[in-house]
Amino acid sequence: MNVQSPKKLLPKDYATDQDVRWCPGCGDYAILRGVQKALADMGADPANTVFVSGIGCAARFPYYVATYGFHTIHGRAPSVATGVKLANPNLTVFVVGGDGDGLSIGGNHTMHAIRRNIDINYLLFNNEIYGLTKGQYSPTSRLGTRSPSTPTGSIDPPVSALQFAMGANARFIARTIDRRQDHMPAIVARAAAHKGCSFVEIIQNCIVYNDGAFDSFAEKDVKDEQQLELVHGKPMLFGKAKNKGIRFNPKTMSLEIVTIGENGISAADIIVHDETNRMLAVMLCQLEPPNFPVPIGVIYCNPAPQPYETAVWAQIATAKEKLKGKPADLNAMLRKGATWTVAG
C-alpha cells in the first residue's frame, strides 16, 4: 500500500463535486462520511486510491469520493478490482457494494476474492434489502420479510455475510455500523492496512425500504447493551456498566453471556479477544440478535505471508531473472523450440 500523500488532506478533500443522490436520511451518507474520515486519517493519496463498485444504491459510492473510481456492473466489482490490483499492486483498492451486489449475484466473486486473498478492501453495505430496485428482499433479509417479490413473506433462510466470508477462508473480517461514526473510520483504516483481502460488513439503514431493521442494536440508546465492541487483547465486555461479558462454554462448544459478579462469575471468566483465533472468529460471527449483542470491530485478522498479487508479481520477477536484467527479446520468444532454416 502506498497511501502517503504529501500534504495532509481533510475528509472534505475526499468529496467530489457531484450531487449525492441517495434518499435523504439514508445510512449511506453516514458511511460516506466515515470513509472520507478514514481516508483522511490514513493520509490516503487520492491519486493512488481506487474505489470500485457494482450496482445498487451503495454502489454509487465511488462518484462521491475524490479518488479514482469505477462504477461497474452488478456483482462484478471484486473481479474488476482484482484486475485493477493485479495490473497495479501499488494502488489501494476498495470495493463497495450492497448485500445484493456482494452476496446475491456477486457471491462467487466475493468468495474467490477472499480465498485468493488479493489485497482489496471489501466494504459491504448490508441493509438487508435491495434498495436501488425498490425494495425486494435480499439474501441477507430475515425470514418472513415482506417485500414486493415476497408479498407473503420470504421463506429462504438468510446468509450471514461474515460466516460466509469465514467459510471462504477470510483472513480479515470486521463489522461496523453506519451510526457508529466513532467506530467506523478506524475499522476502515485497519482494513486498508491489512495486507490481503479484508472484508468489512457495514450495517446500513435503508430508510425507504427497510427502515429500522437494525434499530434494536444500532440505535444510540441501546448500543451499549446490544453491541459487543471487540478489541484485540481486551476482554469481551459490554453493557452500560461493562459488567456483562462473553464466556466460552466448552460443553456446548459455544459462547454465552454472563454477568460479572453473578453466579460466581469474575473478570477472569470473560474471553479476551484474540483477533488471530479462527475458531473464536467463527463463533463470534454466529452471535446474533436478539439473543446476543452484535459483535463489531475487527473480528479476525490473520494475515498470510503475502497477498495474492504479491505472489503473482514474484513469479513474474522470477521469470525475468532469466533475462539477467536485459529487456525481454521478442525475437527470442518466437525462436524458442524447434526451428529450421531454408537456405536461399
Partner: protein, 626 residues
C-alpha cells in the same frame, strides 16, 4: 490437385508425386498427435509446403479401443503451395479397428491403408461393432492395404530395454512413424533429437522409442514391400529462404498479443477461464511471464472479462479469451467496456454449438454473437484470422485497434486454426514499427471523456496525480463525463459510440481480392479458417478458366470501406461458412447484394471439392439461365 497425387512420376527408386495427404489415427493413448507433429516437423525440414488438421476425441481418455476414443492427425504436404489439410487421404495409418472404422470413409479409392494387425482381434472388433474382421470381409476392397503386426514388431524392437508390455506398446507410434519416414524419405534424426529431450529424465524410454522408430524405418528398408507401396518422393517446394518453425494458431495468437502489447508499450493482463479449445492460449501465455505478461485464471468467464477490464482501467492491456459459451457469459461485461470505452481484446476460439455442442470440433458460428450479440446499441470491433500465420498479424492488429481506439475488439479464431500447425517464416520483430499508447497526464482541462478528432477518449490511469476521475456503465455527459440522463445527450453518445467504431474503417486497409479479378461473374467471400479450401477451390476453377474471385475478410466490423463497391462488381456472391449463414446476413444487410450462403455445419472444415463444385454449379446454372 490438392491432396491428390496428380503429377506422380517415377524418379530413381522413388515415385515422385506433387503432394500427399496422410492421416495417423489411433486410440487417444496411442500418441497420434505426437506422431503427426513429428512427421510435420520432418516434412517441413524437407522443405515441403504443408498444412495439418489435428482431430481430438471429446473424451479425455475414452476406454481403449472405442470409436469415440479415436485421435487423428492429418497432414497434407507438397511441392507447391498447400492451403488445406487435404480433402481425401492418400494414406491412412490405422492403429486399431476403431481407427479404421471411423476414418476409412475419408480414404480416396485406391488409397493406402496401413493397419496394425496386432490390434485386429475379436475383442477389439466387438468394441466397435464390427461383425467380422474388416481385413477379410471385403471392407477394404478398392483400397491398397499394408497389414503389419506393429504391436509385435514394436515389442521385439524394445525387448532389450526391459519395459513391461504396456510401456513397450507405447512405442508403437514411433515404429509407425519410422515406417512412414522410410516411405517418404524423411530423416528420422529430428525425432531422435526430440525424443532425447522429451525423455531426458528417463533414458530407457528415450532409447526404447528411438529403437522403435529405427525398427519401423528398417522394416521399410528390409521387408518385401508390395510394389504399389514403395517409396515416394514429394520434391521440395519453392519455399522462401529464411528461418522457419511450426506454428499453431494458439501460439500465433499468444505471440501476436505479446508483440502487440510490446509495440503499444503496454503491460498485458490476460484473464481467462479454461474451455476447449481456448484454454491453450492461457497455457501458452502462462509461460511467457518474462515478456510482461500476467496471466490470471479466474473463477469463471465473467470474472475473467471483468478482471481484464479492471486491468485496462488501471492502464494495462486487458485481454480475455474463451470460446462461444464462455464469450456468451462475458456479454454483459463487454457492454461495460463499450460504455466506459476501455481497451479490451476478447479472443474467441470458436467451437461447435449450440450450448455445449461439439466442444472439440471446429465451427465458425459466433459471428452473429460477435457483431450483434449484446443488449442495446453496443458496437465494437470484430476481426478474424484465417490461419495460424495470419493469426499472428491479426492479434497484433487487435491490440493496436483496442489500445488506440479505446474499444473492445473481438478476435475470432476457431478450433481448427487453434490446433492446426503450419510452417511459419519467423519474422524479425525488431523491424515492426511500434505504436506506443500515450496516456493522459496533464490535469489541465481533463475529464475522462474528452475526445480527439477520431472521437477517441483520453486514457488516464490510476496513480497519475491530478487525474482522479470516476467512470461507469451509466450514460455519461458528452461534455463532462459525469452521469447524464439527458435525452439529447444519450443520442449524441450513441452516435459517438457508433461513429468512433465506423471511423476505424479509415484506418484499415481496403479489401483486396485474394485471387481473380476485382469484378466478374462470381465472388466467393470468406472469413476465418475457410481460407484454405476457398483459395484452392478458386485456384482450381480459375485454372480451368472460370471467372471467379476469392475475397477473404479480416475485418468483419467495421467492414473495409470499399467492400460494398467490390461486391457490387460481381454477378453473384457466395459466402462459404462453417455455420448456418452468418456473414452472409451481414453482407446482405449492409450492401443489399444478393449474396448466397454455402453452409457446412458438421464440425469439420470444408473440403476443397465441396466449394469447387458449388462454384461450378453457380456458374453453370447462371450460364444455363442466361
Amino acid at each position: 490437385m490438392e491432396g491428390g497425387t496428380a503429377g506422380a512420376r517415377a524418379r530413381g527408386d522413388r515415385r515422385e508425386i506433387e503432394s500427399a495427404v496422410i492421416r495417423f489415427a489411433g486410440d487417444s493413448g496411442d500418441g497420434m498427435q505426437l506422431t503427426g507433429t513429428q512427421f510435420t516437423q520432418a516434412t517441413a525440414i524437407a522443405r515441403n509446403e504443408l498444412a495439418t488438421f489435428p482431430d481430438f476425441p471429446a473424451e479425455i481418455r475414452a476406454p481403449v479401443g472405442t470409436t469415440f476414443g479415436v485421435s487423428a492427425y492429418q497432414i497434407n504436404f507438397g511441392a507447391r503451395t498447400i492451403k488445406t489439410a487435404g480433402d481425401d487421404l492418400d494414406v491412412l495409418v490405422a492403429m486399431n479397428p476403431a481407427a479404421l472404422k471411423t476414418n476409412l470413409k475419408d480414404v480416396k479409392r485406391g488409397g493406402l491403408v496401413i493397419v496394425d494387425i496386432g490390434e485386429f482381434t475379436d475383442k477389439n472388433f466387438r468394441k466397435v461393432n464390427y461383425a467380422s474382421n474388416p481385413l477379410e470381409d471385403g471392407t477394404l476392397d478398392g483400397y491398397k492395404s499394408l497389414r503389419i503386426d506393429m504391436s509385435r514388431l514394436t515389442l521385439e524392437s524394445v525387448a532389450q530395454f526391459g519395459l513391461g508390455q504396456k510401456d513397450g506398446l507405447r512405442c508403437k507410434n514411433m515404429w509407425a512413424l519410422g515406417l512412414i519416414y522410410w516411405m517418404y524419405g524423411r530423416d528420422p534424426q529430428v525425432t531422435v533429437d526430440w525424443l532425447k529431450v522429451r525423455f531426458a529424465k528417463n533414458q530407457t524410454l528415450a532409447d526404447a522409442n528411438i529403437a522403435a522408430l529405427k525398427a519401423g524405418h528398417a522394416f521399410g528398408e528390409t521387408a518385401e514391400m508390395p510394389a504399389e507401396v514403395g517409396q515416394i518422393l514429394v520434391p521440395a517446394a519453392p519455399i522462401r529462404p529464411g528461418l522457419y518453425r511450426a506454428l499453431t494458431g494458439t501460439e500465433a495468437v499468444a505471440w501476436g498479443l505479446v508483440t502487440g502489447a510490446h509495440l503499444a508499450r503496454l503491460p498485458m493482463v490476460f484473464a481467462g477461464y479454461p474451455i476447449t479449445p481456448a484454454s491453450a492460449l492461457l497455457h501458452v501465455l502462462a509461460g511467457l511471464k518474462e515478456y510482461d505478461v500476467l496471466t490470471f485464471q479466474a473463477e469463471d468467464e465473467i470474472a475473467a472479462a471483468c478482471a481484464a477490464i479492471g486491468a485496462s482501467y488501471a492502464g494495462a492491456l486487458g485481454v480475455t479469451s474463451s470460446s462461444g459459451p464462455g464469450v456468451a457469459l462475458k456479454t454483459e461485461a463487454i457492454g461495460l467496456a463499450i460504455a466506459t470505452e476501455l481497451p479490451l481484446v476478447i479472443v474467441n476460439s470458436q467451437r461447435g454449438g449450440p450450448s455445449t455442442g461439439l466442444p472439440t470440433k471446429t465451427e465458425q458460428s459466433d459471428l452473429y454473437q460477435s457483431v450483434w450479440g449484446r443488449n442495446a446499441d453496443a458496437p465494437l470491433v470484430v476481426l478474424a484470422a484465417h490461419s495460424p500465420g495470419d493469426a499472428f498479424e491479426v492479434a497484433i492488429e487487435s491490440v493496436r485497434i483496442a489500445a488506440h481506439y479505446m474499444t473492445p475488439v473481438i478476435l475470432l479464431t476457431d478450433g481448427y486454426i487453434a490446433n492446426a500447425s503450419e510452417p511459419w517464416q519467423i519474422p524479425d520483430l525488431s523491424k515492426l514499427a511500434p505504436f506506443p499508447v500515450k496516456f493522459r497526464e496533464n490535469p489541465e482541462g481533463f475529464h475522462p471523456f474528452l475526445r480527439d478528432e477520431r472521437l477517441v477518449r483520453n486514457w488516464a490511469k490510476p496513480g497519475t496525480p491530478g487525474l482522479q476521475h470516476r467512470i461507469g456503465g451509466i450514460e455519461k455527459d458528452y461534455n463532462s463525463g459525469n452521469i447524464s440522463y439527458e435525452p439529447e445527450n444519450h443520442q449524441k453518445m450513441t452516435d459517438v459510440r457508433r461513429n468512433r467504431i465506423l471511423g476505424i474503417a479509415k484506418d484499415i486497409p481496403l479489401q483486396k481480392v485474394e485471387a481473380g479479378n476485382a469484378k466478374g461473374r462470381l465472388a466467393v467471400v470468406g472469413w476465418g479458417s475457410t481460407y484454405g479450401p476457398i483459395s484452392r477451390a478458386v485456384d482450381r476453377c480459375r485454372a480451368d478458366g472460370l471467372d471467379v474471385s476469392h475475397i477473404h475478410l479480416r475485418h468483419i466490423w467495421p467492414l473495409p470501406r470499399n467492400l460494398g463497391d467490390l461486391l457490387k462488381g460481381f454477378d453473384q456472391v457466395i459466402v462459404p461458412e462453417m455455420n448456418d449463414g452468418q456473414l452472409v446476413t451481414l453482407l446482405r444487410a449492409q450492401y443489399l447484394v444478393p449474396a448466397q450462403g454455402l453452409n457446412k455445419v458438421t464440425g469439420k472444415p470444408f473440403k476443397i471439392s465441396e466449394i469447387e463444385s458449388a462454384i461450378r454449379d453457380r456458374l453453370a446454372t447462371r450460364q444455363a439461365a442466361e
